[in-house]
């Protein structure tokens, strides 16, 4: 069996080399070229709902809805990447933040919630982000002093507590849930957008039956958040996170206030989780405790690691695969998760660094592999 694994791994390596050649060529392109290609790619992503690309269309589900789900999951992954990929904290209960964000918007914005405030969406969302950040700090304050594996179980517990609370509390309407979660805006498509396939002028931009508006909003937020996280990554903050992940003691001796930065990572991760929850359930317009099981949370972690923790494009790819593949391959129906599970094992054996690893990660794993034990 080991021999099979090795030969398959070799094949994978040669593919990686081929791609590396491509990568070098890309790196050697003039700055302007690269900017233009990136710009074109972004345009392509925005145009995706209108393009009839045969092979990638999803068979049963509305394609734009799937795209929207992908965007939301990417947002989740970007947040989780801050916590896991950058700061190296294992958070298995991330869905708790997702829930807190979603419920905050639902409770504050819906006419059917027990709290009759009915703030508009644009007011709800910043509040939701603030609330999730605070919940991140509340969770992190006592637990971030714990060592890695303990953190995992405590966060798992947190996720479950949030779900149980959502299920049994009056403010969340229990499992009956809250309908009428506000949409971002009541506006309608203007005349000049009419040319885009699927858009009819005069129909609401954020409509449940045509989610292009939601997709564009989510995509925009994804870009903003990715840029924001990238800014952090390439600053004192990001360096501190990496240092903590690499060697917490050494980092502290080098003057990094580790607790503070771990808390920040938690809070930022939480905020992004809250934002994605708020976004998803604005489209859904209905929220109940059903959507917040720990299993999803664990799948997210898997997606982030498999995509390539530490690399934003990697985690984004992981998230997209997690959202997209089950919809694309509906014919496998009942075996989707089974295949997914097997794929996870296979991936960790063949490509432990993830699909698109960060450079750091890749070298580390290569070196570690050489350090294996003596003998067969």
């Amino acid at each position: 069996m080991m021999a099979v694994i090795d030969s398959a791994r070799k094949a994978d390596e040669s593919r990686v080399r081929a791609v590396t050649g491509l990568r070098d060529r890309w790196a050697n392109l003039p700055y302007g070229w690269r900017i233009s290609v990136l710009f074109a790619f972004v345009i392509f992503l925005y145009a995706l709902p209108g393009l009839e690309i045969p092979l990638i269309k999803t068979p049963d589900t509305d394609f734009t809805s799937v795209l929207f789900l992908c965007a939301v999951y990417v947002l989740v992954a970007v947040g989780l990447n801050v916590v896991i990929g950058l700061a190296g904290l294992l958070d298995l209960g991330y869905i708790g933040f997702y829930a807190v964000g979603a419920y905050t918007v639902a409770i504050l914005g819906s006419p059917n919630s027990p709290v009759v405030i009915q703030y508009p969406w644009v007011v709800c969302v910043p509040i939701a982000i603030a609330v999730t950040m605070v919940s991140g700090v509340i969770l992190g304050w006592p637990t971030l002093r714990l060592r890695g594996d303990y953190l995992a179980i405590v966060t798992l517990g947190f996720g479950e507590i949030i779900r149980v609370f959502a299920l049994n509390s009056d403010i969340t309407n229990g499992n009956r849930g809250i309908t009428g979660v506000p949409v971002p805006s009541e506006g309608t498509w203007p005349e000049w957008m009419d040319w885009f396939p699927g858009i009819t002028a005069g129909r609401p931009i954020f409509s449940v039956s045509n989610v292009i508006g939601f997709y564009w909003l989510a995509l925009t937020l994804v870009f903003i958040c990715m840029l924001g996280v990238r800014r952090l990554e390439r600053s004192r903050v990001g360096r501190s996170w990496l240092a903590i992940r690499e060697d917490e003691d050494a980092a502290e001796v080098m003057g990094v206030p580790t607790f503070k930065y771990k808390l920040w990572a938690f809070a930022i991760g939480a905020a992004l989780g809250g934002l994605s929850g708020a976004l998803f359930f604005s489209k859904q317009t209905f929220i109940n405790a059903q959507g917040f099981d720990l299993f999803t949370s664990i799948l997210w972690v898997a997606a982030v690691v498999i995509g390539g923790a530490g690399n934003q494009l990697g985690v984004a790819l992981g998230a997209i695969l997690l959202a997209y593949l089950p919809e694309r391959f509906r014919e496998f129906a009942d075996y989707r998760l089974l295949i997914f599970g097997v794929a996870l094992i296979v991936m960790t054996i063949f490509r432990p660094q993830g699909l698109l690893p960060s450079r750091r990660r890749k070298v580390e794993l290569e070196d570690r592999a050489k350090e294996g034990a003596v003998g067969e």
């Binding site: 294992l90 303990y150 799948l299 998760l337 054996i349 432990p352 294996g372």
Partner: protein, 316 residues
């Protein structure tokens, strides 16, 4: 909140809590053994337990004691249970071993970081329960009522049934057996040596791979035994049964001090009992919340659990 209820039924809640806690403790052993030696959360252990619950029903059904069958005499029942423990132990132990070989060993050979192990474990867990889910059509499976509970005696107003006594005692017996094995035998010493210092253990001639296989099998067998007790107690199993029990058992292991056998016992029993008190006081639906809040509080004051971490230090 209903503290009066807790006061009135304290003993009864304690005993039912202990019964559940005994099962947690047995499953927690699997987490603790693997963690003690490999510093790794064996996420797939919950499914190892789940496999045991199904094998039990298959064995009983195969012997003609399917759903609705009436129980044979006392000795027959004991025989069936013993047989189920052997079969489920073997199946769970075997599953654990397969998980080790397929999902962990290739990674160990490459000295992968622990996060990667976790993902592989999640994969194994998902694959196992989806596989069983597909085989069983995701339908729950019932089993015969082998043990007719009889009240044996009453302490402080609580009726203690033979079933409860049986579950608690068999769990304790198995734990004691494992404890003796780890602390008193040569192989057990090897396990502790690897847990305390794998390099030096190798210098003593301990084969690490064999020790790792051993702990997976042992943990699996304990989960198998737990699954039989669970089946007798609950009477129904589904493919998704492992997840919650797994999380609880893992919590129990951390609570007692993961990597520590006696910690698993203490953590399991404590979790079962406190959870039950919590259910009594705050209502059933808050049971898990009580459990996790207790975990956080304990970890705040004892960051490595009640009895501390090391498998080797269990007796020091």
């Amino acid at each position: 909140m209903n503290f009066e209820f807790l006061g009135d039924n304290f003993m009864s809640l304690t005993v039912t809590g202990l019964t559940q806690g005994a099962i947690y403790a047995l499953v927690a052993l699997g987490y603790t053994l693997v963690y003690g030696v490999l510093r790794l959360i064996n996420f797939a252990h919950s499914e190892v337990f789940m496999i045991g619950t199904f094998v039990t029903t298959i064995v009983w059904a195969g012997l003609g004691f399917g759903v609705g069958a009436s129980a044979p005499g006392t000795f027959g029942v004991l025989g069936l249970i013993a047989l189920a423990i052997v079969a489920a132990g073997a199946a769970s132990g075997g599953t654990a071993l397969i998980v080790e070989r397929v999902a962990y060993r290739p990674l160990r050979k490459r000295n992968a970081p622990s996060l990667i192990f976790l993902i592989s474990a999640i994969g194994a867990s998902v694959a196992l329960f989806e596989l069983v889910g597909a085989i069983t059509d995701r339908q729950p499976r019932g089993m015969p009522s082998l043990v007719q509970p009889k009240v044996q005696f009453t302490i402080f107003g609580a009726d203690i049934t033979n079933l409860q006594i049986g579950i608690i005692l068999s769990a304790l017996a198995m734990l004691a057996g494992l404890d003796i094995f780890i602390n008193r035998t040569r192989l057990g010493r090897g396990v502790r040596a690897v847990a305390q210092n794998p390099d030096v253990a190798a210098l003593m001639g301990v084969n690490k791979d064999r020790v790792i296989m051993l702990i997976f099998v042992l943990g699996g067998m304990m989960a198998g035994a737990a699954s039989v007790l669970y089946d007798i107690k609950v009477g129904l199993t589904t493919y998704s049964v492992g997840f919650l029990i797994g999380i609880k058992a893992f919590t129990a292991a951390v609570l007692g001090g993961i990597g520590n056998l006696r910690g698993a016992l203490l953590g399991g029993l404590l979790l079962g009992v406190v959870e039950n008190y919590g259910a009594g006081v705050f209502g059933n639906e808050w049971m898990d919340v009580v459990a996790f809040v207790m975990l956080v509080v304990v970890l705040l004051f004892r960051p490595t659990g009640l009895l501390g971490e090391s498998l080797g230090r269990a007796r020091a």
